[in-house]
């Protein structure tokens, strides 16, 4: 397996080449099954199969099978060449991608640079009304086009020739190759869109350039994709057919796995890990996800604006007990806004995590006393959450920690999901359930949580020093210095305690022992079907 090597040398443009993709690797002693069909559960129904309309993990799963971007992410989460054979970065905000000449659409037509430019300009066109524009926002002029201030043709991406693309970014974007593996930035086949209009993603109409082509789609039932013979690396695609099954309820999905109907589940029901592990052994897979679960603290709230209160509440929570005794599904304790091993920063660890709990409690009590709270005048807090069993469980545990260790009087307030989303975005809360999963594996995806005025910042938090460090990091082209600046920004923000991180989420699922190629190494959880295969069983 060759991995694309990616680094930047400021003095000169460096051509980054990777001439061969990483195919599904079948160990020599493994015999493949005659029937290479995989049945995968993928959570709720996909919203759309139009890359420009992608909005969820589910959409990304299916679109990874149907489309291929300039790069692709393999089973281990490593960036591999996709339609682009190689790329270079002539200056900090410019990328040049060289496309392979043998990439084809599922109807045999060649994939060219114009197909990418068309797709990207369509995505930022206000008429398209794409909902997930976080990635393309890095392209020059994207935000102005979305605002209607510039035409889509002004997007910072152009075809130098049919097989060369230049992308201009708003800031140095070292994670660009990794970002381009997201199918939301995949090319689109203009003739199909023009011919079929809104019907273009239907079976028989959809023309993709990925390893699979759409065979059927019955909403809330199945999406069936079959091997695309025109895919440039089709010889290394082993699965002939993938049946994607949407099931809202994870208990139902597990029962279908147990009855032999599913080969893989998307998730495990909360609290089921121990039971399923005992029953299915190594078929239960747990791996870290690039996602955090935390309590958002509204720093504009009259009580929460006091950093001593925020720190005191954070310090006394026993996260080990939370993840081992309360949740028990392999979650990883965390006290940083970033999960462990995020690219582009070093995850920080609170120094008080090494203290004995008694010392932490004593310190936290002193902080609260300094803030004016004591037994006669206890602190009252309200925790808002959207109604799920997990959120309630975590809320009850944390509030009991605060009550038992600090005498804090807590109140739980649950809301229906959409109502809660509005409540949190509008800052109408004191403490709120929150979480974040990365759009791309880089620290900046998390630092948006604390950057002043971003759409991701529900904390009402703003610290110019943090923003300055992020801006300096974004402008820095040396990876080591950039990482140091992003880590410093993280540290500066966390010193203000704008949130209470609790744990890093995990990818937990059942995978049949005869499904080969499955990897626990990708925190972004793409798990492309083209890297999987069925072992003879």
């Amino acid at each position: 397996m060759l991995k694309s090597v990616f680094r930047f040398l400021p003095a000169c443009a460096l051509a980054l080449t990777a001439t061969q993709a990483a195919p599904a690797v079948v160990p020599p002693n493994v015999q493949l099954a005659a029937d290479q069909t995989l049945v995968r559960h993928y959570g709720s129904e996909a919203a759309s199969l139009d890359p420009a309309m992608d909005e969820s993990v589910q959409d990304t799963y299916i679109d990874t099978d149907l489309y291929e971007g300039l790069t692709r992410s393999d089973a281990a989460g490593q960036v591999q060449p996709g339609v682009a054979m190689s790329w270079e970065r002539p200056d900090p905000t410019t990328w040049i991608f060289h496309l392979r000449h043998d990439a084809k659409w599922s109807n045999g037509a060649p994939v060219t640079a114009a197909d990418f430019i068309y797709a990207w300009q369509r995505e930022v066109d206000p008429k398209t009304a794409s909902i997930y524009t976080i990635l393309i926002d890095f392209f020059q002029n994207a935000k102005e086009i979305l605002d209607g201030k510039l035409p889509p043709s002004k997007l910072g991406a152009r075809a130098i020739d049919p097989y060369t693309i230049e992308i201009k970014t708003i800031a140095p974007t070292p994670f660009m190759p990794q970002m381009l593996s997201n199918p939301v930035l995949a090319p689109e086949y203009k003739p199909a869109l023009e011919k079929w209009g809104g019907e273009w993603t239907k079976p028989g109409h959809l023309v993709g350039n990925g390893p699979y082509v759409l065979q059927s789609w019955i909403p809330n039932d199945t999406i069936v994709v079959v091997k695309n013979p025109y895919y440039w690396d089709a010889r290394n695609v082993i699965l002939n057919k993938v049946i994607w099954v949407p099931i809202d309820n994870n208990d139902t999905a597990v029962k279908q796995f147990e009855s032999g109907q599913l080969d893989m589940t998307y998730e495990l029901p909360p609290g089921s890990y121990n039971y399923l592990r005992a029953r299915y052994g190594d078929q239960v897979h747990i791996s870290p996800e690039s996602a955090n679960y935390f309590f958002a603290l509204n720093v504009a709230d009259p009580v929460m604006k006091d950093v001593r209160v925020r720190q005191a509440l954070d310090m006394v929570i026993d996260r080990d007990t939370l993840v081992k005794r309360i949740l028990g599904d392999g979650e990883i304790p965390n006290t940083d806004m970033m999960p462990w091993h995020v690219a582009g920063a070093t995850t920080i660890q609170r120094d008080w995590m090494a203290w004995p709990m008694e010392k932490r409690i004593a310190f936290a009590r002193k902080l609260l006393a300094d803030a004016g709270y004591n037994e006669q005048h206890p602190l009252h807090v309200t925790y808002s959450y959207n109604t799920t069993d997990i959120n309630k469980l975590v809320g009850l545990y944390v509030l009991s920690e605060w009550r038992n260790k600090l005498g804090v009087q807590g109140k739980l307030e649950n809301q229906e999901w959409k109502v809660f989303a509005t409540t949190r975005h509008d800052g109408n809360y004191q403490i709120a359930r929150s979480g974040w999963s990365a759009d791309y594996n880089d620290a900046t995806s998390y630092l948006d949580l604390v950057r002043c005025g971003t759409d991701a910042n529900d904390l009402q938090y703003c610290n110019k020093k943090v923003d300055a460090l992020i801006a300096a990091g974004n402008a820095e082209v040396d990876d080591t210095k950039r990482t140091a600046l992003m880590t410093a920004a993280d540290q500066a923000a966390m010193d203000d305690y704008p949130m209470i991180p609790l744990y890093q989420r995990v990818i937990a699922r059942l995978v049949r022992s005869y499904v080969g190629g499955y990897s626990d190494l990708d925190p972004m959880d793409r798990e492309p079907s083209q890297d999987l295969y069925i072992i003879k069983h």
């Binding site: 209607g148 147990e258 032999g260 229906e416 959409k418 109502v419 989303a421 509005t422």
Partner: protein, 309 residues
């Protein structure tokens, strides 16, 4: 009766319009919108989405636009699933719901009426206690418990070559329909048999039954010819609610068995604030309710000779 049927069908139009109007106001007044997500949508993106779905227009204009489309049979584009129109989503889900709920209803009616009648005729016998027990269990045990138990027994415990006797869920051939239909039928039979038993017991104490017996008619004739038909009236009243709950609102059954039916669609539509999807399904459910009510009213006339239209 023909004129009555036509009149009732014409009345359905203002009924549907009234229900749609009320629901339209309700869904738009519900806190949280279709584009409120875990992450706040950027203002420019939100503006583009609202323009695309005409949500940037004044409420009355939006309503009139929706009605105009509705009159042309167009239920609009789904907000959550932009690749599908609501017409397409309904067209995919309705056959599933009809295949499960639509089949369960007549089966439930036949079984429920039969065992309810047996229990009434053999009052205080073992058969009566057995039917009462079935009824109580069916009413007391929720579907979300009964469904998984059926799966446990027929899909997980009884296996053949590592594959369950019946699928644990999903949609396909007849095997996929057995357990959902069984679950709905058990729940429906519990209600129908109880009502039938009570109703027949009451009829059997009527003076015209006493007269029939005094005339020396055989007990079988008394029950089948004289008691059964009037005893069916309360059961017929149940028909619409049972049919609607089985066909359009079998949310628990569809969730437990992962069926791509209408119930799941309407719940997810409400959760996602998919206005057009919810309203489209409201139109459908209202139309079905009107139709079933009409059928029931016509059946009243068939069962009770005193009722004539």
């Amino acid at each position: 009766m023909f004129a009555y049927t036509i009149r009732r069908l014409l009345f359905a139009v203002p009924t549907i319009l009234a229900v749609v109007t009320v629901c339209y106001v309700m869904v738009h007044m519900t806190p949280g919108g279709p584009f409120d997500m875990d992450r706040k949508v950027a203002p420019a993106v939100l503006a583009n989405l609202q323009a695309k779905y005409h949500l940037d227009q004044p409420p009355l204009q939006q309503y009139l636009y929706y009605l105009g489309r509705l009159l042309h049979g167009d239920l609009g584009a789904s907000f959550k699933y932009p690749d599908w129109t609501v017409n397409e989503l309904v067209a995919k889900a309705l056959p599933v719901s009809l295949a499960v709920g639509g089949l369960s209803v007549p089966i439930s009616m036949v079984i429920g009426i039969w065992i309810g009648a047996v229990a009434a005729v053999r009052r205080n016998s073992f058969a009566d206690y057995f039917v009462s027990a079935i009824g109580n269990i069916g009413n007391a045990v929720p579907s979300f418990v009964l469904g998984p138990v059926l799966i446990l027994v027929f899909a997980l415990e009884i296996q053949h070559h590592d594959i369950g006797l019946l699928p644990a869920g999903g949609w396909g051939g007849w095997k996929f329909r057995v357990l959902p239909i069984a679950l709905l039928t058990i729940v429906n039979v519990a209600t129908i048999s109880r009502v039938m038993r009570g109703s027949l017991l009451e009829v059997l104490t009527s003076s015209f039954i006493r007269t029939a017996r005094a005339k020396g008619l055989p007990e079988r004739t008394v029950i089948v010819r004289h008691a059964l038909r009037p005893a069916l009236m309360p059961v017929l009243s149940l028909f619409t609610s049972i049919a609607l709950s089985s066909i359009t609102a079998a949310v628990v059954t569809e969730t437990v068995f992962a069926l791509p039916g209408l119930g799941l669609l309407i719940v997810n539509g409400a959760i996602n604030r998919d206005y057009t999807l919810v309203l489209g399904l409201v139109v459908l459910v209202t139309a079905i309710a009107v139709l079933f009510n009409l059928i029931v009213d016509l059946l009243y006339a068939a069962v009770d000779p005193r009722i004539r239209y």
